[in-house]
Symmetry: C3
Subunit: 363 residues, 3 copies
């Protein structure tokens, strides 16, 4: 089991260009945990102020805190302006990344004789690799993975159980795909003829960039023609659905249950929160952020933050959606006003009549 | 084939504390069916008044009805105040639960020598069990299931085809998971450094309580640290997505396509309808009910019923959303009022001017 | 590699009852591509006016255009009033449909002795076929597919990797199901007893019609009693969730992430865009169209086009949702009016008082 002195951790953080300062005893730490689950010998952290109370009650031995949060008594504290990156580094050093089973090249994997397998393979029982596929070095394929004909997988890829890569699709280097995700299935491509749907052969492919990580049970269509693309460094949550011919830029982050239709262009470093939907043929600029359940049916300018369905600029959305629960009251006030105005009109008319009759009386 | 006299069924219902009364002939029943599909010798039931017409047209021999619904002529009737529970019992007695194939311990299952397998295993071809996994008694794993290193599965669990349990995760007793669901994949845990995403090793686990049933193609993240939890007796539909570190209480019911982000706390007996989304770090009280497509971005008090996106109390939501289709009319009425008020203002001013000129004329 | 003269393509189009006319040189074409990706020797097409600019910049040798779009200089043009159908036919002739691997009857497939397998099987390694299943002629099952006990699969079906068909379910002829989809899992059927959920055995089945194509990672519940049905010729995108007992008509098109609850009736040729949800027991008429993210909680008349959540007629929805971003302004204008009206009322009262005092002064 790994362990680390807090002073050693501070050194490691400095080496990673994360300024860090130890306050309190230089304790030995053997693991990282949440504030509420941590016990003696463990390191906690706080980045979300919502959990300040957990900070007071934690049984952790030490904690990583941003500058502005006071340290509770009895806890050694590592001060760091970026607690999230600091705790990431601590987890890497104390827990490390997942160790995969050592399957080598299992006899129960089925590999077509024409497929090319790189150095140091780890191909589990139940893996199937079809004709002319090319697999890079140091790949780990868990049980039930399928690599279609002529697909190409880069070096250092990890495919968890039951991942499917259709024929002709391409994965870059160090791509990680979680269980049950499917790359390169046919998109919903049909030509309507009278009331029937005539299948358009989907002859394009899907291309996944380097260092992409894809969650579980995602589906990324192949293109009808040309290619569907997921840019390098992009990270997907679970059950992301990407339509045919869509091109997602690098370093994006999509949360679970996001659906992007076909022929969409998404720029770089775009963040889509849970259950966001984007309609076909839209263009989404760099650094766009869309709030949960947003429905995007038009182009979005780079740098915008949008929310709502249909999506609008975030500030507009917040103010507008805050009115929705008051709509019945708004309706009532409108009705009151109408009554009031009608009454005023009547009074004014009565007055006018009265004046007229006065006038008539006057002479 | 099982069959049952209606009088026997009434006895069974009484034994299960469900008061039941037979009206009409004591017929022999050999199956349960929907009112519209039932034929002679079958038992139908009505619990939703929407199907009253089917009751008149059914060819069933008998029917289970609540007290207030009159019985059609020619049909034997079992009166029961809880027709849903009554028909459940009838189905159990006449049709029984699914019989699983008898695979024993298939030679085509791959079981690591260090794994511990309980009594009476039913492990299909293509099952893979990794090192140090512990499997309870009487478990049924369909083809393509994967149990990761050191995972622990309780007694009497049924995993349908291609279910994946990641390393270190835990299932209680009598857990049922439908095809393609994934337990314990990594969540979307990255620390942002400039515009890149640095992977945070997800070293926690997912823990599923006793008697949980999970639908097909669901994904339940492991925790970054500590554990994701699904409480005992909770039932999930299909394609439910649960984020890392989220804790769902016992006896909840989540309908399909629900997404719950990370670090959410859900109380007991919470019902989430289809496509509901809950944002990260929210706290949902016991017995909360959320309507379909609700978007929850804050804490919800126990016992509340909410609806809408953003979610609001159900009555408020119903009244507010009923106004939305009238918004164009509301806008028009507002414009009319503005014109009217401007006109009144003008008349009042004219009158004032007129009076002034009267006054000026007066002397 | 296939190739085709443009004049030959025109002939083929005419044979398929698609009127087509060649303008410009009769070039040889060796493939179809998008306007932006096409190179010399390739055929492009334009159906969406959004891509007019790509038409000017394309390096394609020829292009299929509708009548009203002028042809750029240097490009041979095939005029066709239905470019989508024309390009489909060109793709079929130049690229063809996918060639499946030739697995024959793999020794690594596990087939129960009581199962009946039709002529010309292509059953991959890792396929499992349970007792009493009946498989038609010319079926292709990719690795990891599971066919449950007594399930029946028609002729010419293609199941991509890890497709699961539960016990007793039925597929018609020429059904295509993409990777990871599940047919016939149990629906969310429980009888509530106090705060617990009592499992209702799901003894019905799911029946998929001829020529249905289902995307990746979909889930189609079996019925509690009777059957869930997907009509002939219907096409599903990815991650479609269909509840128990729901009956979908023929020739429908459902885009990704659509959720249809249980006991819903959907007519023929219904189009549901992405992330649409339909609540239980609704009835959706023929030829209905629902826009993305619509939430349908009631019956929809045939031929209607709806949008929004809750769904309303499309024109109403467009006008209503266009008001939502103006709600804060609407609120402000209402407040201004209230102030204005209050002020008018005051003036009128003052005037009345003034008149009264005038009157009092008058004598």
């Amino acid at each position: 089991v790994a362990h680390l002195r807090l002073s050693q951790l501070c050194e490691l953080l400095k080496e990673a260009s994360l300024a860090a300062r130890l306050e309190g005893d230089d304790r030995v730490i053997r693991g990282v945990n949440t504030l509420s689950d941590a016990s003696d010998g463990e390191l906690g952290f706080l980045s979300n102020p919502k959990y300040l109370r957990s900070l007071e009650q934690t049984r952790a031995s030490a904690v990583i805190l941003p500058d502005q949060v006071p340290s509770p008594s009895g806890l050694s504290t590592i001060r760091c302006s970026d607690p999230y990156s600091a705790v990431t580094l601590a987890i890497v050093h104390l827990h490390g990344h997942r160790q995969h089973p050592k399957w080598g090249l299992s006899e129960r994997a089925t590999i077509h004789p024409s497929a090319k397998i790189g150095a140091n393979p780890c191909l589990a029982p139940g893996v199937t690799i079809a004709a002319d596929a090319v697999i890079g070095d140091d790949c780990v394929f868990y049980p039930g993975c399928y690599i279609g004909c002529s697909a190409r997988i880069g070096n250092g890829c990890v495919l968890f159980p039951n991942v499917v890569v259709y024929d002709g699709c391409v994965l870059g280097n160090r791509v990680t795909i979680h269980a049950g995700s499917v790359i390169g299935e046919d998109g919903l491509g049909y030509a309507p003829r009278s009331d029937r749907w005539v299948k358009i052969p989907q002859v394009g492919r899907a291309v996944i960039g380097d260092d992409v990580e894809i969650g579980a049970n995602c589906t990324i269509d192949r293109a009808t023609l040309g290619q569907t693309e997921i840019g390098a460094g992009t990270k997907f949550g679970n059950v992301i659905v990407i339509g045919h011919g869509t091109k997602v830029g690098p370093d994006c982050l999509f949360v679970g249950l996001v659906g992007v239709a076909g022929s969409v262009t998404v720029g770089k470093h775009v963040t889509l929160a849970g259950q966001v939907g984007i309609a076909g043929h839209c263009s989404i600029g760099d650094n766009v952020r869309a709030g949960a359940q947003s429905g995007i049916a038009g182009d979005i300018e780079e740098g915008s933050e949008v929310f709502g369905s249909p999506a609008m600029p975030i500030e507009n959305a917040r103010r507008s959606l805050a009115v929705v629960p008051k709509l019945p009251e708004l309706m009532r006030r409108l009705r009151d006003l109408e009554r009031e105005v009608k009454d005023l009109r009547k009074q004014l008319n009565d007055r006018a009549e009265c004046n007229l009759s006065d006038e008539r009386r006057a002479p």
